[in-house]
Amino acid sequence: MAKVLLFGPLRDLAGWRERDFDGVADLASLMAQLDPELALAVNGPGVQVAVDKAIVRGHALLGPRSEVAFLPPMSGG
């Protein structure tokens, strides 16, 4: 099971902020379980992925308690 967190416009698009996904051994299998519109958006320009609070690029294995966060373009200050 992996916990998925959505931020910013991704959250508004999906209509949820946090959700658990079962049977996801890696990022690719998690992506396959996402709603198609959300899957498209998280693959969009400028969206970064963090697994257990570290940015990952491309392939990433997920553990039974992994936290996956999809981070659209950021702006502080």
Partner: protein, 154 residues
């Protein structure tokens, strides 16, 4: 020191505390980012962080700035949650022996906060809400700090 908070920032108290009793500092540069009203087009900003991730990201940014500009001290306090016009969104302060280092440190921190820091900002107005992304000028500002392969600044 870095801090995220949902309460209104007391920027005067932060500046006083930052400078208090320091006899080694020559210059302190602070930046305060305020929520604008935009002639009534903005009723508030909603800022979201990724708790446990955003703080560490900012800590690393402050460490980088501290080394690069020989800062004696640095402070970032950032609001999250709902922010009304005229309230502070962020307060940054940099202390250095001489003023140029303090100016460059604060400038560097702000450019990175604006277009890189893990925050998401939603603007509320009479016409509804929309998410704010960095402007192209923000990315240009950021490019000023890129170090060329030879090691010298652009």
């Amino acid at each position: 020191m870095i801090r995220l908070q949902t309460e209104d920032l007391d920027i005067g108290a932060l500046l006083n505390q930052f400078c208090l009793g320091r006899t080694d500092i020559g210059g302190v540069v602070s930046f305060t980012g305020l929520a604008r009203h935009e002639d009534g087009q903005v009723t508030g900003l909603e800022l979201e962080a990724y708790p446990g991730f955003t703080e560490i990201w900012i800590e690393e940014l402050v460490l980088t700035a501290g080394q690069r500009f020989s800062l004696l001290d640095a402070l970032i306090v950032h609001r999250t949650g709902l922010i009304a016009p005229s309230q502070a969104i962020v307060f940054v302060a940099c202390a250095a022996r001489h003023r140029r280092q303090a100016f460059e440190g604060a400038d560097f921190l702000m450019d990175h906060l604006k277009s890189q820091a893990p925050f998401w900002k939603k603007q509320h107005g009479p016409g509804g809400t929309h998410w704010i992304e960095p402007r192209s000028i923000d990315y240009q500002d950021l490019d000023r700090w890129k170090v060329s392969p030879g090691g010298a600044n652009k």
